[in-house]
Amino acid sequence: MGWRVSRELVVGFVFLGLLVSGLMVHYLLYSTPKEQNIQTLSRLTTFSSPSLSVAFYEPRLPSGNAMHPSYPSMPSLNKRGFIYAQ
């Protein structure tokens, strides 16, 4: 005896299946030229940090995080040490 389920349920699952397969196709076939441009620029400028438009975070400019062991100085104020324990 065959399985009997309502037509709507079958249609629903087929629809979900199609959505998942569409997602996987896009994920696997996504072309990389867009990525290559950014790699080329990063190679040219030797900068890889994000262009964040945020005043408190500027990783591209010297941060003062790495201190000289024999010449310590005060850490800069734009660090998030208050969120993450060092």
């Binding site: 005896m1 065959g2 399985w3 009997r4 389920v5 309502s6 709507e8 349920l9 629903g12 979900l16 959505l19 998942v20 569409g22 997602l23 896009h26 994920y27 996504y30 030229p33 867009k34 990525e35 441009n37 950014i38 790699q39 080329t40 620029l41 990063s42 190679r43 040219l44 400028t45 030797t46 900068f47 890889s48 940090s49 994000p50 262009s51 964040l52 438009s53 945020v54 005043a55 975070y57 990783p59 591209r60 400019l61 010297p62 941060s63 003062g64 995080n65 790495a66 201190m67 000289h68 062991p69 024999s70 010449y71 100085s73 005060m74 998030r80 969120i83 993450y84």
Partner: protein, 392 residues
């Protein structure tokens, strides 16, 4: 109970009572959609940045004076080159140029275009512009954000930089950097090294910092020690610190959303629990009827389990697929501003599809388990009571 009849009944029941389930599915889809979008953005940015970090020099060294980074003397380069195990020692000139009227700023990066590698990269980026005309006069490449800003301020072909001595330096805009590089280049201006030095009024023998590579990872700590012995006023930053900074930055923002998610999911689960355990709820009556016609407790739990499973799976798939489309096809309008900020120049980036299946799996568990618990526990409580009492 025969499986076939059971599933037929289940599928009929699901669509008969679809109005009852649509609300739960709708809220679940929104919760999953929001959290997946944030996770997709965060993992995509982290992946892009970590992959770019491969092109980043292993160390950067700059001079400190009174706790502040100051210009580094070029003579340091000769001393660094002599350290065994060090390669690709290159001077870097960069800094922020502030456009005072609007309190906006650009990141100017000076590049030595006479270096063979840099020249090749420049050619790859400048598909439309002639290199000869680029070098014929002071020219620069600008990021999309900078281009838009300059055009809005009537500097469509060239920009006049105000130098520290009060004079102006006119620099032609050769080309806009491709939009796909916005993630790092939105506020960036790339120009020849000497021109950047002129704009920052740096001395002939000064640079911002020195980048260097140490191909053998095992030597990294030794080299840092040697650098510190050579220069007592030096600050050495290595690539590992930058990598950590990226991870913590996006984990921090993703974490905020995770907290919001937990609050939302707990609230939602409480509502669901309440719906089933209410004294006069329709669910209670329905379970009572099923028990009265001979269904066992196990059958009822099985029915509710499969019913919930269908709701959970459909909501999860819909939420994740919608989030994927929103982030990787429409580039997450509005939400991306939380990650990129909008204080300086508005940015708009292209997200490279990245799915972390482990995180998605955990998200499914964190969503499905409380969902099942908040449905099955009250259902079991009703099912074990006598049908007559349950239908009251």
């Amino acid at each position: 109970m025969h499986n076939n009849a059971f599933f037929h009944f289940l599928s009929l029941l699901l669509f008969k009572q679809k109005n009852k389930h649509i609300g739960a599915i709708f809220i679940s889809v929104i919760i999953i959609f929001l959290l997946s979008s944030v996770l997709f953005i965060s993992s995509s940015l982290q992946k892009s940045l970590q992959s770019m970090l491969k092109n980043q020099p292993d160390f950067t060294i700059s001079r400190l004076q009174a706790g502040r980074a100051v210009d580094t003397p070029t003579e340091w380069i000769e001393k660094i080159v002599q350290i065994d195990g060090v390669s690709a020692v290159t001077p870097r000139v960069y800094g922020r140029y502030f456009f005072a009227p609007n309190e906006n700023s650009f990141l100017i990066v000076g590049v030595d275009f006479f270096d063979e590698q840099s020249n090749r990269s420049l050619q790859e980026l400048m598909e439309t512009t002639d290199l000869k005309s680029f070098f014929a006069m002071p020219s620069m490449l600008v990021g999309e954000g900078v281009q838009k800003f300059m055009t809005a301020h009537y500097y469509s072909d060239s920009f006049s930089f105000k130098l520290p001595n009060g004079s102006f330096k006119k620099v032609a805009i050769a080309q806009q950097l491709p939009s796909s590089t916005n993630l790092i280049a939105n506020d960036m201006i790339v120009m020849p090294l000497e021109l950047a030095k002129e704009i920052f009024a740096m001395e002939e023998e000064s640079i911002t910092d020195i980048a260097l590579n140490v191909p053998n990872d095992a030597e990294w700590d030794t080299i840092v020690g040697k650098l510190h012995l050579l220069f007592y006023d030096a600050q050495v930053i290595d690539k590992r610190e930058i990598s950590k900074a990226y991870k913590s930055l996006y984990n921090y923002k993703g974490g905020l959303f995770l907290i919001l998610y937990l609050i939302t999911i707990i609230t939602f689960m409480l509502i669901l629990y309440q719906r089933y355990s209410m004294v006069y709820s329709a669910e209670k009556k329905e379970i009572g009827i099923l028990r009265a016609i001979g269904w066992s407790i196990q059958d009822i739990l099985k029915l509710k389990f499969y019913e919930t499973l269908v709701i959970v799976i459909s909501s999860f798939i819909l939420g994740v697929v919608l989030a994927y489309i929103f982030v990787f096809i429409f580039d997450a309008p509005l939400l991306q501003e939380i990650f990129l900020g909008g204080e300086n120049l508005a940015n708009s980036v292209v997200f490279v599809p990245t799915i972390e299946f482990g995180i998605l799996g955990s998200l499914f568990l964190f969503f499905a388990l409380p969902f099942f618990a908040s449905v099955l526990i009250p259902v079991w409580k009703i099912a074990v009571t006598p049908p007559k009492e349950a239908m009251l």
